[in-house]
Amino acid sequence: MKILVALKQVPDTETKIKLGADGKSIDPTDVKWITSPYDEYALEEALRLKESKGAEVTVVSLGGDSVKDVLRNALALGADSAVLLKSDATDPLSIATALAAFAKEKGFDLILAGNKGMGGDNSSVGPMLAELLGIAQANVVMKLEIGEGTFRAEREVEGGTEVVEGSLPAVITAQKGLNEPRYASLKGIMGAKKKTIEEVEATAPAGFTTVAGMVMPPARAEGRKLDGDPAQQAAALFAALKDEAKVF
């Protein structure tokens, strides 16, 4: 089985976001870059399938030279090969188109991605990729079983779990709970240093969306503390919610 895992490089979740001078992006100074958290579950699932069923795991990331860190880390964890698709595209359909072109050329049985790339927060590259390749999809997956040319996935929906069955090839996007990602071993880290990362100029068409502007969120109105003993605090809270906030 050939598995592709799409990895996105994003700012660490601890990052305090500052706006860039162009007013359309974030200021990258002092930002620590990591693999998007959901993508770690996607990669872990691929590595587990490799161990249980035998699979060749390729990781791909679209971006600039810096995303090599993400790819190198995936190699250290156990991915077999890594490809950098060079592009500065940020629109989800542009990215999905470039990933689809690459996936089509190489041919994969299974494509794993995160259900949401931290930062852009679009949750769209997975389903777009599936459509562009004309294959099945299951998103926000918490449990995955692979059969003979088929899959069974449990995905999180409002108030329950949907069991999705379909045929391979398929795009599956990972949700927290799918597995517990491993840490890289020293041997893995040393081994990854020797591996080469293939670099390919991506074909990412423009013309879908652009970020026209970015601002900081409006500051929340200043709140106040409620005094007294618990009973008095409770009374004060409901009085405030009724009279000031008019919630009830």
Binding site: L93, G126, V140, M214, L226, P230, Q233, F238
Partner: protein
């Protein structure tokens, strides 16, 4: 036409779909276009509700094989409807289904897509979307260059405004062919309570709850307020038997209720990312320096095990229930 993909629940229009329709109505009025409500499924009984939220046309794509949700079939049906009606804007709620089908439909249409938007407008005949990025740490404006523009609206953000529409019903052909993936069953939790993303009131517990059993006091408060219970990641990951879908935050649910009550939650940046869009925030924490108080509309410094039961008592005495 501005087309809105709508969902039904128990034969009624979902609240989040009513919100998307209202957002669509505003755009239609601003651009002098018609508003269409699209329903896909084996039965679309209840689709008439869309006329209450300003739909000029109710488009139905009804066929037996669509009884179970299929991403590829629904995306096809939606894209076909967009093409058949010459729609330039396609909207839907950012629900599990909306987030699954609409990006796929957008790819099928070669259309730009903006997910989980919190404001929409038209400029020069094109959609403009405002959306939180970096988990709400910044707000971006998305401009579209494509002829067709697609967006999903974040639940609980747009107001559902009742406004009568003509609601002329038109049946559209259903997609044929083998579906690549299909929902085989739904393992419902069957609580009958709204999902966190759609709830008006959320009572969340963190590590300060000390164990899973103690969440019963949050359930009681939530019940008294007509709300649901959420949790911090620390609580979910503590092995207290809480399910992952209760988690609020950057790697959990992004919620925007009217009222969010945080109990024993410190207010880590990743938690705040999921709930800072709440209209009113109440924090109960014994540490007066806890960062959550910076965000709180009302702060209660105290032991949650003393405060929460008092809140429940007060709520019951007042006969409170969120609208």
């Amino acid at each position: 036409m501005i087309l809105v993909f709508c969902e039904l629940k128990d034969g009624k229009l979902r609240k989040s779909s009513a919100e998307a329709l209202s957002a669509g109505r505003r755009l239609a009025d601003a651009s002098g276009k018609q508003l269409g409500a699209l329903f896909v499924g084996a039965s679309v009984a209840g689709s008439g509700d869309a006329a209450k939220y300003g739909a000029d046309a109710i488009l139905t794509c009804e066929a037996a094989p669509l009884a179970s949700y299929s991403s590829d079939a629904f995306a096809m049906a939606i894209a076909d409807a967009v093409k058949a009606k010459g729609a330039t804007v396609l909207l839907g709620a950012a629900t599990a289904m909306g987030k699954d089908a609409l990006p796929r439909a957008a790819a099928r249409l070669g259309a730009g897509y903006a997910g989980d938007v919190t404001d929409l407008s038209m400029a020069d005949g094109k959609l403009v979307a405002v959306r939180p990025v970096y988990a709400g740490k910044a707000i971006a404006t998305t401009a579209f260059a494509s002829g067709i523009q697609v967006a999903t609206t974040r639940p609980n953000v747009f107001e559902a405004v009742e406004k009568a529409g003509a609601g002329a019903v038109e049946a559209l052909p259903a997609p044929a062919g083998d579906f690549k993936a299909i929902v085989k069953e739904i393992l419902a939790k069957g609580t009958g309570k709204p999902d966190l993303t759609e709830a008006n009131v959320i009572v969340s517990g963190g590590r300060g709850m000390k164990n899973g059993e103690n969440f019963a006091i949050l359930e009681e408060l939530a019940d008294a307020l007509g709300g649901v219970v959420g949790a911090s990641r620390a609580a979910v990951d503590a092995g207290w038997g809480l399910s992952h879908d209760m988690q609020v935050g950057q790697t959990g649910k992004v919620v925007s209720p009217t009222l969010y009550i945080a109990c024993g939650i410190s207010g880590a940046i990743q938690h705040i990312a999921g709930m800072s869009g709440s209209k009113y925030i109440v924090a109960i924490n014994k540490d007066p320096e806890a960062p959550i108080f910076k965000l709180a509309s009302y702060g209660i410094v105290g032991d949650l095990f003393e405060v929460v039961p008092e809140l429940t008592k007060a709520a019951k005495a007042l006969g409170i229930g969120a609208h």
